[in-house]
Point group: C2
Chain length 404, copies 2
């Protein structure tokens, strides 16, 4: 199956999950499941923006150093009498009748009065009701992944618990090691890679691994494992080949429906997916770590990201950079080609995931996706690079600027 | 104090903290405190890259459909006898003497022998020892924030616990509400904003808030609070003005040394910082939420990011975009100007943080930092925009591509 068709199947079968309410302190990084509408004006009333003296602006008309105008010191209170002035602190509610707050430096303080030596404009030193936002204004739109700023915004709006998309619950099944066909003992291999890798990938995409089981290799055992516990999505690892002890695909076909097995994707050729009779979707990832990684990133991860309400695209920043050498790809297969950054403008292809396995994961600064219809790119072509680690790359040019 | 001088003070006084060892499952997002050197070759031995038949390549010379060569079916074992062939599974150790693995499709299987109908090249179907990496190769360099891929990489290298930079422990102190000077009751305000905001910001930057205390307003009380418990950094919120009940700066001066109070930064003018006699640094953030936010982002956050071993720069992606209207800034002050994205190439300045408070946080898609030496930018100028929410912005152009 071409990757494009697999993506279409995923987009047709996965929609954002329902919601749950969490404490604001746990909400950073979660996706808002309802738009946040301001429940009240902010500020709720006209208030002083600065520490100072509150009075009536029209009464200062004509004031100057040569013509200081005297204001009677009024007791602080809800109403300011005509001709009076009262001290006020930043954030305090403006008394009725007052329409300006003067900084104390602009006033001469006397025992029971103040000399104002400058005419004041109404509104100066005042923060008017609803100047930050008005009741009913949409502050945050449904579907936003909440950043730290927005935790403050929600707190300011008086929100202490917030409705967010619930985390997709993922079951990860792997199979007991196959005895070596050759009889030679296998040790010092990377068989422990996929469990921690998948858990980290699922968490990055907003999901949670609720079960990490090892299942006995056998058609019935694998089929029963598919059906044994509820989940939003099942991911199996390994057993996707065509050998006698590769049970992932036939077991899924028995437990429901196998929508695809075998993808025009490298690494990841033997991946598959489908649904149980109950409707629970399942992705069958190859056991080779790099194939497991890429079948996750392109297929299973897209499903997890859709379920959790995130952008379904690959979660990497992209940048157009020039390749310093030819990038070669087989026509008919989407190939993921690792590249190393050479400088701000250039990347160099490195030994493929097929040739270097996880070594390519260690050495790559990013990757280029070559579509099935393309044979690659000649030296000197601008290519779209997905950056493995966007932040330092993007931040680098800043070092030359004065801004922090 | 100019912001540039404050940044210099921070860069001189904050270095990465020591390390701790954590389980691999908890290591995503943490910063590696030692370079990871491959403890062994991967693979540890030459092994089959595919399921197939293992044999000696030179013995297939001359084989063709017209001249099938017969290989004796050997028992699987550590040594392959001359003239023999044995089945092998992907990942199995290559028997001694063998140097090629043929896919079974290229072979005719007979009861006690195989007919090979194609000459094979030595090395085909084999993954050689150390082809992924060699023992002693540096796989990950000290200082990397670990992404999910690297969790898999560490697992493949046999690492189950990893040495990472320990999280900076931050104490956040705020002060009891000041009674309103005017006597009018204050309610419906945003006084609950800063605690949740700071906690989310500190966690984003790799720190952990170990104490969130409310301290009685009073010079002695604040000074004693500074000294009451250990921390890597203290952040106070509020009480940074010049009023009689603003005790943050004088209390820090009594508890140690006040390095700065008052910054050429808007929002954030009244911020300050210094160190206790014990050496513990302290940042004094203003209580107005937007001033608290910006004094954190530029000053305290930079310290937290340095302590936790991260990039000290602001953790936002930047992009050069054109402003559709004049951006105005006071000369002598670094101003943070909120902007809204208009399209892929343009931003429009919106009401400032000073005018719209948290409303600007709700409405901005990013911000422009105008240096103290600049009065702003005329309409049509390319400006460096820090993007509040880099991912969707960066991902947007992808919608038009075929690659996922």
């Amino acid at each position: 199956m071409p990757v494009a068709a697999a993506l279409e199947w995923i987009d047709n079968h996965f929609d954002v999950l329902g919601s749950e309410v969490v404490d604001l302190a746990q909400a950073a990084g979660r996706v808002l499941a309802e738009s946040l509408v301001a429940p009240a004006d902010l500020p709720a009333y006209d208030r002083a923006a600065i520490d100072g003296l509150v009075l009536r602006a029209d009464e200062t008309a004509g004031a100057s150093a040569y013509n200081p105008l005297l204001f009677r010191a009024s007791a602080p209170g809800p109403i300011l009498a005509p001709g009076g002035a009262a001290p006020i602190g930043a954030g305090d509610r403006l008394p009725e009748g007052a329409d300006v707050v003067l900084p104390l430096e602009h006033v001469e303080t006397r025992p029971a009065s103040y000399d104002v030596i400058e005419a004041a404009a109404a509104g100066s030193g005042i923060e008017y009701r609803a100047s930050q936002w008005a009741r009913g204004e949409v502050l945050l739109t449904l579907g936003r992944p909440l950043i730290s700023w927005e935790i403050g915004l929600l707190a300011a709006a008086g929100v202490s618990r917030v409705r967010v998309v619930r985390r997709p619950r993922i079951r990860c099944l792997r199979f007991t090691d196959r005895p070596p066909v050759s009889g030679a003992p296998s040790e010092g291999n990377e068989s422990g890679t996929n469990g921690p890798l998948l858990r980290a990938l699922v968490e990055r995409d907003g999901g949670v691994v609720i079960d990490e089981s090892t299942v006995e290799r056998g058609r019935e055992q694998v089929r029963d494992a598919f059906l044994s516990a509820p989940a939003d999505l099942i991911i199996t690892v390994g057993g996707t080949g065509s050998g006698a002890d590769d049970h992932a695909a036939p077991a899924l076909a028995e437990a429901g429906q196998l929508a695809a097995h075998g993808l025009a994707l490298s690494p990841g050729e033997t991946a598959g997916f489908g649904r149980l009779t109950s409707g629970v979707p399942a992705f069958l990832l190859p056991g080779t770590p790099t194939a497991c990684l890429w079948a996750y990133e392109l297929l299973a991860g897209r499903a997890v990201r859709r379920l959790s309400g995130r952008d379904p695209a690959l979660p990497f920043a992209t940048r157009q950079l020039e390749t310093t050498a030819k990038i070669v790809s087989r026509i008919g297969t989407m190939e993921i080609c690792p590249v190393r950054r050479r400088d701000e403008q250039h990347v160099t292809p490195i030994a493929s995931f097929a040739a270097a396995g996880l070594g390519a994961v260690a050495r790559a600064d990013g990757f280029v996706i070559v579509d099935a219809g393309s044979e690659g790119f000649p030296k000197g072509t601008p290519v779209m690079v997905h950056l493995r680690d966007a932040a330092p790359f993007l931040a680098a040019p800043q070092a030359e600027e004065t801004a922090p």
